[in-house]
């Protein structure tokens, strides 16, 4: 189930905890980020096929913010995947409901701007140009408004809707809370976004790197010039301190600690997730988190036992 350099260490931990033979039962309910969904779905599948067949792990993808609403509720979900950090209001709500929340950083994602394969002009844009396209106040309605030598065709902007952490990351961190264009087409499902962009020559959309990576045949990613020349988002460039750093963000899953204490399978799954995060990240289009981050999370989790 696990691999890489952490092999001995993890195995040791496992033995200590439940022993390899301990059969767990029950269910783990996960909702939240659509960005993290492929990572978590893969993780869940691995867990159920290789680790604990008796445990049912159920993964949905309502979006980070929508997920938090289900997470921060009586009998809420066990985990909430998030493509942004938990907000203060959400923390306050958790406190009110007496839900202890454990943040688990699981991987790194690069906010990727994708265009149609047939778009041969916007393959490289500067950081500012991209931001301007998505700012209502700049009024970039046509591609030619961005650069005069671009075609005089309408820019079609797309993105995930407000249920999503990606939207909020864009809105809060990149656009500094300034309004997006009125005409932007916001969608609930990433699959819809991929589909739309792949069929619209004038489209530009933003979402997590993973969705770009698994659809490279349909989409192109904009190389972003952060001042030192165009950088293509790749697993390397979005890694910690990579060249794509300004658009890189950590992605998380949040654990309901109360549940973890009541249900051994929840805690077991949390530990499994951290132990295998780096591998699954690479398979699903994320940059792996650092060993320190991983150890920190694992320690916290082991402390819950």
């Amino acid at each position: 189930a696990c691999g890489g350099g952490d092999k001995e260490e993890t195995n040791g931990n496992n033995d200590n905890k439940n022993g390899d033979t301990a059969e767990l039962e029950g269910s783990v309910v996960i909702d939240g980020s659509g960005t993290v969904y492929p990572f978590m779905a893969k993780m869940a599948e691995n867990y159920m096929t290789n680790e604990q067949e008796g445990v049912s792990v159920e993964v949905s993808r309502a979006g980070t913010s929508a997920g938090f609403k289900k997470f921060l509720a009586q009998d809420g979900t066990d985990f909430n995947d998030a493509s942004r950090q938990i907000k203060d209001e959400e923390k306050a709500e958790a406190e009110k409901l007496k839900i202890d929340v454990q943040e688990m950083k699981v991987a790194l994602d690069g906010l990727t701007f994708v265009i149609n394969k047939d778009n041969d002009w916007a393959k490289e844009l500067t950081q500012q140009e991209i931001i301007d396209i998505f700012l209502a106040e700049k009024g970039k309605k046509k591609w030619s408004d961005v650069r005069p030598d671009f075609p005089a065709e309408e820019i079609k902007t797309y993105g995930p809707n407000e249920n999503h952490g990606t939207y909020e990351f864009m809105f809060e961190n990149i656009l500094e809370e300034k309004a997006l264009p009125e005409a932007i087409n916001l969608q609930q499902d990433y699959s819809t976004l991929v589909d739309l962009v792949s069929k619209d020559k004038n489209a530009i959309a933003f979402f997590g790197y993973g969705y770009y990576e698994s659809n490279k045949d349909k989409l192109a990613a904009v190389k972003v010039d952060f001042g030192k020349g165009p950088v293509e988002p790749t697993l390397d460039t979005i890694a910690e301190d990579g060249e794509y750093a300004p658009f890189t963000r950590p992605v998380f899953t949040y654990l309901n600690v109360n549940h973890a204490k009541e249900k051994p399978e929840v805690l077991d799954y949390a530990i499994y997730t951290m132990e295998n995060a780096q591998d699954v990240a690479k398979e699903t289009g994320f940059a792996p988190l650092s060993d320190e981050d991983k150890q920190a999370s694992l320690e916290a989790l082991n402390g819950l036992k």
Partner: protein, 323 residues
């Protein structure tokens, strides 16, 4: 044969075993349970029958109570006249018009497909086709009617949309046209079969009357049979519209979720039903305006279809009185 009975009786009496009357009397005296069942059953059955009524009440009450909550937060007029729908985020706005136009336009497209084709099919089957042909075609059309809507959704998404996009250049990847057409196809059997029933109910003597005047079959069909069956045919349209308004999966899959207030059928639009799926599928945390909006939209949808159904019932009841 005479005497057989008496013999049998004699044998029975001899053994003195079989006295049915006495047995029945005995059983009757001990059978108070039967009496109880007899009294108990009608009440139970009534309670069961009442469940269908309770279901309706349940629908109305759940929708209504949360809808009232919704209108506490969003003024009634704003909802029904608002052209902007932005249910998420800080600056949420709830105008239902984008959904209404989406619903009406998709239904209109569907009926534009279903009405002509459905009626023409009905005319063909009732006026032109031989009995044998009719008996083969009708079940085939019923198959079409029995295909789950999710399959039509898949068909719209993976076949009809790409096909249309290769014909109509400006067509967006998700648009209202493709699901509208596919919904129309789905409704054809309904219109065809109900209209055909109405036309078959027109007495043959009327056809004979017209034919005897030298009318062609077309003239008989168009000027005698269709007018005579018109209320039944219209009832089929109304039911078809009701079906289109309530159809969910085809639009959810194929028309995207843009909440633009537009009349451009090449664009993506959202219907009321697709909105309900989107909101419940994403976030439906109780108590938020977004959550209540779900019920307000569902209520609107419910009222729409209810009116359509009542109209259809009224029309077809009137139709039945005609002959």
């Amino acid at each position: 044969m005479k005497g057989v009975f008496i013999l049998a009786k004699a044998v029975a009496e001899e053994k003195n075993k079989l006295n049915v009357r006495k047995m029945i009397e005995e059983k009757k005296n001990s059978a108070s349970l039967g009496n109880f069942t007899e009294k108990f059953i009608p009440g139970t059955l009534f309670a069961i029958a009442a469940i269908s009524v309770l279901t309706t009440i349940g629908i109305v009450v759940t929708l209504l109570s949360e809808t009232i909550m919704f209108f506490r937060e969003v003024p009634f007029l704003d909802f029904f006249t608002g052209t902007k729908l932005k249910p998420l985020g800080e600056d949420a706005v709830f105008g239902v018009l984008p959904l209404l136009t989406g619903t009406i336009i998709s239904s209109a497209i569907a009926m534009l497909v279903a009405i002509p084709i459905g009626v023409m099919t009905a005319v063909f089957l009732s006026e032109y086709a031989s009995e044998k042909l009719r008996r083969t075609v009708k079940p085939l059309l019923e198959i079409l009617a029995g295909i789950p809507t999710i399959v039509y959704g898949f068909f719209a998404f993976t076949f009809v949309t790409p096909l249309l996009r290769s014909i109509i250049p400006g067509l967006e990847p998700t648009n209202i046209l493709s699901p509208g057409i596919v919904m129309g196809i789905m409704i054809i059997p309904m219109v065809a079969s109900l209209s055909e029933d109405a036309m078959s109910a027109v007495p043959n003597s009327m056809r004979e009357g017209a034919l005897a005047l030298g009318a062609t079959k077309l003239e008989v069909a168009w000027k005698v049979v269709v007018p005579a069956a018109i209320s039944g045919i219209i009832a089929s349209f109304v039911l078809g519209i009701s079906r289109a308004i309530g159809e969910t999966m085809i639009v959810t899959i194929a028309s995207g979720s843009s909440k633009n207030f537009t009349f451009d059928i090449t664009q993506s639009m959202q219907t009321m039903t697709a909105y309900i799926v989107e909101v419940t599928g994403g976030e439906a945390a109780a108590g938020t305006t977004l959550y209540y909006s779900l019920y307000a939209v569902a209520m609107t949808l419910f009222v729409f279809t209810l009116i359509m159904n009542l109209v259809a019932q009224y029309i077809s009841r009137k139709f039945r009185e005609e002959y």
